[in-house]
């Protein structure tokens, strides 16, 4: 019996090492970058990391400032592009990043992307404040409907996301959720690979992963509308919104668009006749495909072609 159990355990260890090696060699997992919270309370990635997307289809990189993608060659006439995972864009090669496409267009601006999965609207605004140190001429925040809901603590507490308590009018910074456990799970590739299958998703095939956490599309009810209105009122009153333009996801509903309009915020809603073509996959409406990013870049460039941002 003892011999049997020892051998089974030994085989288990050898099998585990083999599986771990196989996953690492074949890059079957999405490599997950580590994060930090800096002195200003901004959650960003540890600088100078790189890794692979699932099955090594392409790699991602974190630049020396702690944001995904490439830094612009110059910081003159800088425009910041702030958003969550669809600006982070790990699911596409770096050539498909909005800032890469825009920087290659050789228009008169330089683009600096600050994207990180899980960023709420209020956190995006905090990031915009933080990025003022680069003296940007404009700041663009890319918004999906879910970003509004996630910003409001009264609509659901999310400890790892920066939220606004509308009742108390205070911002609660997101915390790194179980960083120790995450470090273990992300470093033991087998564990991470099978974590997905344990929750009912086949490893490697999931459109949603830690890096692509798609936000739930929700039906806008009257309560949400009131909260959204209060949120954007707070935004207008507490941030210098004259330099900020909110770029709304093409699938944003009219009622949300109206809330931006009614709160005197500068916004631009992406236009497309076929929003599904923008999607990263048919089920993943939160993230854009390379085509979607290219189309978005064309519209951002066209938007900048105007002399001045039109206040709606």
């Amino acid at each position: 019996m003892k011999k049997y159990i020892v051998r089974i355990l030994f085989f288990g260890i050898v099998a585990f090492i083999s599986v771990e090696t196989f996953i690492r060699v074949k890059h079957l997992n999405i490599d997950v970058p580590t994060r930090q919270i800096n002195e200003e309370g901004i959650q960003l990635y540890n600088p100078n990391q790189n890794g692979y997307w699932s099955n090594a289809s392409h790699s991602w990189q974190i630049n020396e400032e702690g944001w995904p993608g490439k830094l612009p060659h110059s910081r003159d006439s800088l425009i910041t592009l702030i958003g969550d995972s669809h600006i982070e864009n790990f699911m596409n090669p770096i050539e498909c990043n909005l800032e890469t496409i825009l920087n290659e267009k050789k228009i008169r601006y330089n683009f600096f992307a600050a994207g990180r999965s899980g960023v709420s609207l209020i956190e995006a605004l905090e990031i915009s404040d933080y990025l003022k140190k680069y003296k940007p001429v404009k700041q663009f925040i890319f918004v999906k409907e879910g970003d509004l809901k996630e910003s409001i603590q009264e609509l659901g507490i999310k400890e790892d996301i920066t939220q606004l308590s509308l009742k108390n009018k205070i911002i609660i910074n997101g915390q790194l959720k179980s960083p120790g456990l995450k470090k273990i799970v992300y470093n033991i590739k087998t564990l991470y690979y099978y974590k997905n299958s344990l929750v009912g998703i086949r490893p490697g095939s999931s459109p949603k992963s830690k890096l692509t956490n798609s936000k739930e599309k929700h039906i806008l009810n009257e309560t949400d509308k009131i909260y959204y209105h209060q949120l954007l009122k707070y935004v207008f009153e507490n941030y210098n919104t004259s330099e900020i333009t909110f770029f709304l996801h093409p699938e944003t509903t009219k009622s949300v668009e109206d809330i931006f309009k009614n709160n005197n915020l500068n916004y631009y809603k992406f236009i497309t006749a076929s929003p599904k073509k923008w999607r990263n996959s048919p089920q993943d409406e939160s993230h854009w495909s390379c085509y979607g990013h290219q189309q978005a870049a064309i519209q951002v460039a066209a938007f900048l072609g105007e002399k001045e941002v039109v206040k709606k």
Binding site: R7, I8, F11, A15, S18, L28, L198, R202
Partner: protein, 478 residues
């Protein structure tokens, strides 16, 4: 609980440790553990149907006790028929009621009479056909005084519910399995190692071959009008591999798991696709069911004692009943009928026992004649499986017609990896064809342990990284 689930991967070691390290001193406790574990195993799927198993267990136990006391032949018959009616009654209600009702309504409407019937909205309890047949074997054997009725209720409940084979067999005979619950089990290293090998091989067959083949077989059968003839041929061949690897894979895991607990279950598959004729195929396919029908139906009907006509009649009965056992659908009945027709020449000309040994028993490769016979038998089974898999008889016929439309272009993307994996299956089973399963006595072929471990690791990696989309075990529905 499915064998190919994380739940089972956690459940099995827990039961194993409790069984050998905590309760190993007490046989009764070990049997209690088996009963409790089996109820958990079954209840994981749907606890409500545990009452059915419990009821069936109680009825057959008390029928057995009654038979041991009763000398009056009429009363003994009544007791036996109580067991038969209760067990077949469950099957009738849950499995066949709606089928008969629909067919009666259709038959009456054919003659212009419209009748209404209330069909039952019930789901089929998993494994009902398996455990009812197993308990029936007990009552019949006790009635025929082939077996001493048990007075140990726990041992009997463990025999009925033994979780490795509860939901999809092998259908054990009481004379073989029940006595194993009376005797003290001793942990045997070699038996346990062999059990693990059989589990590994079963998982490979199920998760890697069956589940991968299922994806393409499903595509072909669900869209048979859209695919070319050659694609449909491939689809039927994929289903042929799917059903073999799905069911024999389950049996391997069941037998292997039983061995971990010191039990021996009967062999259920003996490399059936290496058969040289249909009679041989049926001696090697789902052996526990074929022998059940032989012992409890074919022989009581007169077997082959009454001349050729009786043999023919009984063979047809056996195959039709066997088809019907698989499911309440005409497709299964036609499948059974087709197999009866296949086997008929060998019954009439008494050649059904020509191939009792394994093919190429004295050489590594078969002769050309043997190869052609194997190929022909295989193609006959492929054709029959189409009826088994199709949604209806008309679907099967249209599938076969479409299959024979001349078009060599395969309009389905089938990864080369799948053919490679099937080749591994084929090669390993061929090498081990004289053994109980592909990895049985592997130490004789690969004497160096680390070489064996490389093979095991290769299979583990295939299971983990080449798994097909998870499918239910086909035979669960029966």
């Amino acid at each position: 609980m499915f064998f190919n689930s994380i739940d089972f991967a956690i459940f099995l070691p827990i039961v194993f440790v409790l069984y050998w390290l905590v309760m190993n001193k007490n046989l009764k406790l070990q049997n209690v553990l088996i009963v409790v574990s089996s109820y958990v195993f079954y209840g994981w799927w749907d606890w409500k149907f545990l009452t059915l198993i419990l009821f069936s267990t109680l009825v057959d136990y008390f029928v057995g006790v009654g038979l041991s006391k009763e000398k009056n032949q009429i009363k003994r018959k009544i007791l036996l028929w109580t067991s038969i009616l209760v067990n077949l009654g469950f099957l009738g209600v849950f499995k066949y009621y709606n089928f008969f009702l629909d067919n009666f309504i259709e038959a009456f409407s054919f003659f212009g009479t419209k009748i209404k019937g209330n069909s039952l909205n019930v789901i089929l309890p998993v494994g009902i056909s398996f455990y009812t047949f197993q308990t029936l074997s007990y009552s019949i054997d006790v009635y025929k005084q082939k077996l001493e009725p048990t007075k140990d209720f726990i041992a009997f409940a463990a025999f009925v519910t033994f979780f490795p084979q509860l939901v999809a067999g092998p259908i054990e005979r009481a004379t073989h399995l029940l006595p194993q619950f009376y005797t003290k089990r001793k942990f045997e290293y070699n038996k346990a190692v062999d059990g693990m090998r059989q589990i590994l091989w079963g998982l490979f067959k199920k998760i890697v071959i069956a589940d991968n083949c299922a994806e393409f077989a499903n595509l072909a059968f669900n869209n048979s009008d859209d695919y070319s003839g050659s694609t449909l041929v491939l689809g039927a061949i994929f289903f042929t591999f799917q059903i073999y690897c799905d069911f024999s894979g389950y049996s391997d895991i069941a037998i292997g798991t039983s061995r971990l607990f010191g039990f021996d279950l009967m062999q259920n598959f003996n490399f059936p696709y290496f058969s040289r004729d249909m009679a041989e195929f049926w001696r090697r396919w789902h052996i526990s069911l074929s022998t059940w029908f032989r012992d409890y139906l074919y022989i009581p009907l007169g077997g082959s004692k009454g001349g050729t006509w009786m043999k023919v009649r009984n063979t047809f009965i056996i195959f039709i009943v066997s088809g019907f056992w698989h499911g309440a659908n005409w497709t299964f009945i036609v499948w059974g009928l087709l197999n009866a027709l296949y086997i008929m020449p060998s019954i009439i000309f008494s050649t059904n026992r020509n191939n009792l040994n394994i093919v190429a028993s004295e050489s590594f490769l078969p002769s050309i004649k043997e190869s052609l016979k194997i190929l022909f038998t295989f193609l006959l089974t492929v054709l029959a499986w189409i009826f088994f898999r199709a949604n209806s008889v008309s679907h099967a016929i249209s599938y076969i017609i479409n299959m024979f439309t001349w078009n060599t272009h395969v309009n389905m993307d089938i990864p080369a990896k799948l053919f490679f994996l099937i080749s591994i299956l084929f090669l390993m089973e061929w090498i081990a064809r004289k053994k109980l399963f592909a990895l049985s006595e592997i130490q004789l072929i690969l004497p160096l342990w680390y070489i064996r471990w490389v093979l095991y690791l290769f299979l583990v990696l295939c299971i983990l990284f080449s798994a097909g989309k998870q499918q239910d075990f086909i035979y669960f529905q029966f």
